[in-house]
Symmetry: C2
Subunit: 281 residues, 2 copies
């Protein structure tokens, strides 16, 4: 199945906009899970519980690879087991590799082997720095999705992304236009824009149009305000995917029932997002 | 020791400009090495032979991580063994992680753990897309180097890197200026600019000055002409590092003695580069 079909099917049918960030760094996994387990077992066990608590509201799972790589082969083993488990049990949920990378040619072929064939992701998130060569290798295959970081959430994202071009556009606008108008040959590409820069997020929606999926991140701990998402949900209010990582997966900290806390946080996030999505512009 | 001191010591004393790209993709390792070995053993064995054949001309080793990640845990195990071997036997040679990535905050801390603590690299190569947040975490530690991709070698590198800004500069010039004038607080940062865009490489040298190390790639198989490096070697002709990957490590293919072929190619590359370095501008 085409990646984008898988993603939009899920957005169209689930009545949710939640992307769950499975950033399960081992050092923050609760002790009662870790006890008596290897690192990879603990990660896998934690993730299975997170999935049980969130799969009914998760349009997609997004995984920041560095959080697993940091724990070496054990970390990657935990990630691999998690993705195999997801494919076996929830094949309808797209898996996004938050990799913040960019590669081309032979290296891109190797990356495809690692991320899609080895780790079973459905989509890779990439910086646009090296241009179209970055995405070609992935988009040849209909089942592979690519998300381009158009404007990120971090304090210095503006340094280059907001730089003014000769023709009056900002750089992120040029990137968004390139994605929407030149790179989107088979529909398997979409964009990421952070909620901590609401003006740029809004402008990104204007540029890519109502049909393209936007993934936004940075609501909550990073300072993005959910109210800023009003009017940005795209066609039928179903083309915005909103990530929650720490605010969901660690929501059980200090609670009597850890994973009930996770479930409550995910459901509350869904509800809050649906309320905003239903508001007129 | 400060990373940059380690790198410039080596450039000052070795009488070489060669950076050897240890891009030892398993599928291209010769059969006589692979025979009877696991993937990680074959990679490690191949790399040890490459190191024996090149360490006397290698200012640094640069490793494209995707070529190892593509072969899963075995690939990374081969890489880890290689870097441990290099640290034990050739601690004076800097190890560069060609990662084409960019991360910040907690993810950057995790990446540091993976790349510097786990895999023993001395330097990480990063895209500038997310701004200064990308490099902060690494440059806090004096022993960590960062190289920023200012202008790459690939055909579509121009798409964004050469885009014209309101103030008349090109984007890659703005990045090079940012690196040289704002980000270089403790001297542990340098730049990468590809030899397939000679004008931009020359302009990069003008911007960063004679003292900063430039790493250039793309000579040979990718189409960069060694003659274009004339005049770009920096202070005392010792601030340019020129990468050779495939043209060195696979130079033994079809030869009677594979690693003699590798050694010959590395030494020829050193000689060719030295001849250009010694020419007046």
């Amino acid at each position: 199945m085409k990646f984008i079909k898988k993603l939009t099917n899920r957005l169209d049918t689930l009545n949710s906009h939640v992307c769950v960030g499975l950033d399960s760094r081992y050092d923050r996994i609760p002790e009662f899970i870790k006890k008596g387990k290897t690192v990879s077992e603990a990660i896998f066990s934690f993730n299975k519980e997170l999935i049980a608590a969130t799969h009914h509201v998760a349009v997609a799972y997004k995984t920041t690879l560095t959080f697993y790589n940091a724990f070496g082969d054990e970390g990657r083993e935990g990630l691999r087991k998690t993705n195999h488990y997801l494919k076996a049990n929830y094949p309808e949920i797209p898996l996004l590799a938050d990799y913040k990378t960019s590669d081309m040619g032979e290296s891109a072929k190797m990356m495809k082997k690692d991320i899609f064939d080895g780790l079973l992701f459905d989509c890779i998130m990439m910086t646009p720095w090296f241009g179209e060569d970055t995405i070609k290798e992935f988009l040849k295959d209909d089942a592979c999705g690519v998300a381009i970081y158009v404007h990120d959430t971090n304090p210095t994202a503006s340094e280059f992304q907001d730089i003014e071009l000769k023709d009056g556009r900002r750089l992120y606008e040029a990137v968004a236009e390139k994605v929407a108008k030149s790179w989107n040959n088979n529909g398997n590409i979409f964009v990421e824009a952070g909620a901590t820069y609401p003006t740029q997020l809004q402008r990104t929606r204007e540029i890519v149009g109502e049909d393209m999926v936007i993934l936004t991140v940075g609501i909550g701990p990073q300072g993005g305000d959910i109210k800023n998402l009003r009017g940005l949900f795209g066609k039928n209010g179903k083309r915005l995917l909103v990530n929650g990582s720490r605010s969901i997966i660690f929501a059980g900290e200090g609670k009597k029932d850890y994973f009930q806390g996770v479930k409550d946080a995910a459901e509350q996030f869904r509800q809050d997002l649906s309320a905003i999505a239903e508001l007129a512009i």
